[in-house]
Structures are given as structure tokens and as C-alpha cells.
């Protein structure tokens, strides 16, 4: 039973998120609608995971993101899933900067697919990562002139993209219709080509790949 905090200023969406999470067995410990409330909730309730809209009152700029970053500064690794109408690599970078995991950054449309969304919430709650495919696509596009990346086979690239979204080997194999051993082989090859130290731990592996893509 994970305890969840929801921060969203639109009533309909907030209510919908609360219902969706409750239906999937989460306990919603709070539903707030502004940046200061969110920061207070994050620090006082210490939820297992929180779902945060970037744009919140009172300034309607990036209140939600700032509150999440501030809370994680005080409580390293506090799991936060950030939702937004648009994704920016800049924000993804800021969220990943402390390298401690427990971070999600998704487009709001991903809520449409309840199962995948809930899966992402669970992953973040467990200290994993959930990056929007669009973030990964942008990351790869801005790495277009990176030679080691260009040397990947199309299959390896698919594995890399799926892995960077924060998925485990099991999830990758299911998604790409590959055997788990084949995924492991591709992963080893990718890490060798990019010059990264291989790791058995799913989370650390994802963070290494994201760090690699971010540090051109």
C-alpha cells in the first residue's frame, strides 16, 4: 500500500487522478492545488510517491517542479513523478541532477493509458525512473552527432530507448518481444559500445544511461 500525494490545480484532473490511484490500490494521503501546499505536504507527510503538475498556482510558472526539487534537496531520493503538458530536457536534467533515482517525468497524456501510468507510479515509488518517451526521443535527437551512439544497431537503439525510459529487463523483453537473455546481451553490447561500466541493478543502469545521454 503506497501512500500518494497528488498536486494538480485543475479539479477534474486532480479528482480523476485520485480515483485512478485509489482504484489501483494506492492510498491518497493528500490532494493539493498550489506550490506552497505541495512543499509543505511533501515535507510533512513524506509520501511514498507524489504526483506533481509542473505549473501550479500562485505563479503558474514552474511552482510544482521547484517544490519537488526543494523537497528532494531536504529529503534525498524522495520519490516524485512530475507531470506536464510539455516536456523539456532542461527540466529532466534538473530532476536527474542529484542522481538518486525515484524520479518520473511524464507528459500528462500518459494518464490516458491507466496501466502504463500506474506501472510508472509504482516504479518511481520503488526508487526507479520513469522518463517520457518524448524526453528520450529529444535526448537522442540532441545526441545525433554522438559517434558511439551512431554505432548502435537499430535493435540496440530500441533497447536503449526503452531502458532509458526506466524499464527493467523483463519489461523491455515484453515490450520488444525479445527473450530476457537476448535483452541482457543487447544491454551488455550497448554498455560496451558507450564505454559504461555494466551494472546488474536496474535503477543504477538506467541512471548511468541517462547521465551518459545528458553529458555530451
Amino acid at each position: 500500500m503506497s501512500r500518494v500525494l497528488v498536486a494538480e490545480d485543475l479539479y477534474l484532473l486532480r479528482d480523476g487522478l485520485v480515483h485512478l490511484l485509489q482504484a489501483h490500490g494506492f492510498t491518497v494521503v493528500g490532494a493539493v492545488e498550489s506550490g506552497p501546499e505541495l512543499l509543505k505536504g511533501l515535507l510533512e507527510l513524506r509520501p511514498d510517491v507524489s504526483i506533481v503538475d509542473v505549473r501550479l498556482p500562485p505563479t503558474f510558472t514552474d511552482e510544482g517542479l521547484q517544490a519537488a526539487l526543494a523537497a528532494r534537496k531536504q529529503v534525498p531520493g524522495l520519490p516524485v513523478l512530475v507531470l506536464s503538458q510539455h516536456v523539456e530536457q532542461l527540466y529532466a536534467r534538473e530532476l536527474l541532477a542529484d542522481g538518486s533515482g525515484g524520479i518520473g517525468y511524464l507528459l500528462k497524456d500518459r494518464v490516458f493509458n491507466a496501466e502504463q501510468f500506474v506501472d510508472a507510479v509504482r516504479r518511481v515509488a520503488a526508487g526507479g525512473t520513469a522518463m517520457d518517451p518524448e524526453v528520450i526521443a529529444k535526448l537522442l535527437a540532441s545526441n545525433a552527432r554522438n559517434e558511439p551512439l551512431a554505432a548502435l544497431t537499430p535493435r540496440e537503439r530500441e533497447v536503449l530507448e526503452t531502458m532509458a525510459e526506466g524499464r527493467s529487463n523483463a519489461a523491455i523483453s515484453q515490450r520488444l518481444y525479445l527473450s530476457e537473455s537476448a535483452v541482457a546481451k543487447h544491454t551488455a553490447s550497448i554498455f560496451a559500445k558507450l564505454g559504461l561500466a555494466p551494472s546488474e541493478d536496474d535503477n543504477r543502469r538506467v541512471l548511468a544511461v541517462l547521465a551518459y545521454l545528458n553529458n555530451r
Binding site: V54, K108, R145
Partner: protein
Amino acid sequence: MSGYRRLESMLRRFGRLAVLLALAGVQVPAVALAAVMLLLSFALGMVFLFPPQVRMVRRVAQLHRRLVARWTGLAIEPPYLPAPPPPVPQADGMYRSDRTLYKTPRVPAWNDRFKWLLTDPATWRDEVWLLFDPLVKVALVPLFLVMPGRGMRVYALWADLLLGATAASRLAGQVSHLRRTRNLAADSQAAEMRRIERDLHDGTQARLVAIGMTLGAVEQLVDTDPDAAKALLAKARDASSETLTELRRVIRGIHPPVLAERGLPDAVRALAIDSPLQVTVNVDLPHRPDAPVEAAVYFAVSELLSNAARHGDARTATVDISAHGGALRVTVTDDGMGGADPSKGSGLAGIERRLAAFDGVLALHSPPGGPTTVTMELPRVLPEYWFGELPEMPRWKSALVIGLWATAWCPTFPQGLVAGGHKLLGYDGDNPSWFLALHLPEPLQWPAILGMTAVGVIMHAMAVRIPARHNRDPWLGQLLPRPIC
């Protein structure tokens, strides 16, 4: 060495004098010719002689402006009103000039030019200057010989008096410049609106119609064929997701969300991260500029970075954004192969149009082989002094202003105006009380009263003027007409 130098400077001064006198020699027949042409134009109706006459006088005047600027450093700004725009045909293809219609633009264009030259006060100031200039030159010869430097300065002042710009001519120039940039801004805004309308109409709206139709079909199928209904619902969900993606693209084109959320520095950093180039961003702005300025700079940098990545074959780029007084300067440099041509492709032209709304200019330096540097400058878009950074008056000035306010009333009222009132009403003599002027002998009383009043008024004026002069630029500088460059 110094003797040689002295000789050289003396020779130069006499050379200048010789040039001026030679010009005076040319001017005398020019005056005669100008007078004859003017007479023929208006007395005998040979109006076609008027434009060449004005052109000739303007050429002589312009030569003098250039010489004075070079010799004394006093830049004399040409006062001429901007030339009329070329005639625009009516809907039926004819050109109208007053009440007459013409098939070709030649006659209306000539009429416009004629009116322009005739009504520009600068034309007549030039003529007056030409008439008197040879006399002034000759009259100044003794001064030139005794004090060449001073003589040249006096001549420069004379030239500036009649050849320089007036507040009215500057205002007229500014109005026509503003009208041009306003039209440009309105045009580009209209084009943007049309583009957004097209995007929304062809993309978002069409997709929403499709979603609505799918939902309608689901409604009919849900009882008879639940499986098909489910498949359709999945399709509708995908379509709504695509619609959102498209809306995001449109919104990005209108006003990028990251700009609204973070301001210019972070928005440019976000651009840098998204770019396939290795981009370094340096922003040195103490505060956020206005939102329209931020948007213009953002789109310009975005366009330049994508140009560099697409055409320039660049690997790294640098974006510098800094404030220079009230001007915002943006420099984008890349290490591509250079040779960018602003006439090809509309990217740079689009940026220029966007910047024109803020009187901004763009300079491109792109030699073949690179590197390419684009510098954009938007003058006067930032306040000269940000709030709280106004230069403070030195303490002595503040003390002086307070002192003036504290004492100026004394000479103005009791010693000046009130004493004057007493004298007018005939109280003098018996009880002069403490009105200083009334203690003086009779003939000195009025001068003393007037003097006191004048002193008081001057003190009041200084108390107002000192603080106003101190921060002149921020509030007064904005209002005065200024040269167009």
C-alpha cells in the same frame, strides 16, 4: 620634431581655409544659378527645374556637413524629411494624384517628390544658408588667420544653425520610421495569426471532429458489438493523444511554455540542450526584460541555432546575451563553414522583421570557411537603470537642494513680492519692518525688490532642476526626439 609638427598643423589649417575659400568661390556662381533656376521655376512656371535645383543645393550643403564633421568633429545631422513612398496603384491599376488618374506611376511619383521638396522647411533653410554662406566665410577670414581652431568652430556653429536637424525634422523622421516598423510588425503578426489559424483548422479541429465521430460510432455499437466498440474507443484515445501532441507544437510556436515558466536565460539554455550542437550559453542580465522582447530574442536564437545545425555544418556554438546600458545585445557564434547569405532563405529576414518591432538590428558576419557570427542589438528595450539602481545624488547635491528649498521662499515672498505689494499700496517709510528693500533709499527700492524676486525664482528653479538633470536619461531622455541612425 615638434617644429615639423607645428609646421604640419599650420599647413593643415591654412589648407582648410583655402578649401573653404575655394568653396566660397564655387558657391557664388551656384547662388546665381540657384536664384535663376528658382525664378524660372516659379515666375515662368518651369517647375521641372525645381527638383534639380534642390538637388544641387543639397549636394553643396551635404559637402559642407561632411567637411565640418571631419574638421571639427561636430556631426551635423541632415534635417531632410524622408522621401515619399512610391505611389501605390488603386484596385483598378490606375495611379491617383489628387483628382487625376494616371496609367503609369511616373507623374504621380514626380508630383509627390515635388511636393516633398517644396514643403520641407529644410529646403528653404538650405537656400538661405547658401545665400549667406560665402559672406560668412569671407567675414570669418580674419578670425581663421588669428585663431584657426576657434574660427573653424564658429563656422561649424553657423553651419549647424541652418544645416542641422531641428526637433521637428527629427520627429518627422521618427514618425515615418515608426510607421514603417509598425507596418512590418503588423504584417508579421498577421502572418503568424494566419499560420496558427491554419494549424488549428487543419490539424486540431479536424482531429477533434474525427474523435467525435468515432465516439458517435461507439455509442451505436456498444450494445450490439462491444468488441468493436472497445477497439474504436482505443482509436479515439490514440487520436486524442495525437491531438495533444499537435496542440503542443502549435503552442510552442505561439509562446514556448519554458519561456513563460522560466524566462529568457533558462529558455535559451533549454534550446541549447535540445540542439544537436554543443552550445555554450552566457546570459548576463540583472533582471527579466519585457515578455515581447524575450519572445523575439528566443525565436531569433532558436532560428539561428537551427540554421547553424542545418546549413552551417557546425559542431559548437556560443550564445551571449548581455545588457549594454538600455540595449540588449545577443551574439550567436558557430564554428560552421560560414558563407551564410541573408538573401537566400527567409530565416534571417524573418528574424529581422521580428526585431524591427523593437528598432532592433541584425549584423551577420559569415566569411566562407566560417566562423559565422550574428549580432543582434535591441536598443532601449531595457530600462537604463533597473529599479533600485538609480545613481544616487552625491551628498553635497542633496544638501544643496534641501538648502535651496528651505531658503528660496525668503527672497521670493517676504523680501520680493510682499515688499513690492507693500510699496505699491504705499506702506513704505512709516513702518519698513523687516523688508530690507524698504530700508534702502527710494531709487534703490524697486531694483532691490525685483532683484530679490529674481534671486528667489532662480533658487526655486535650481532646486527643481538639479535632481531632474541628475537622472535625465531615464525619464526625460525617452520623450525627446532623437537622431535616427
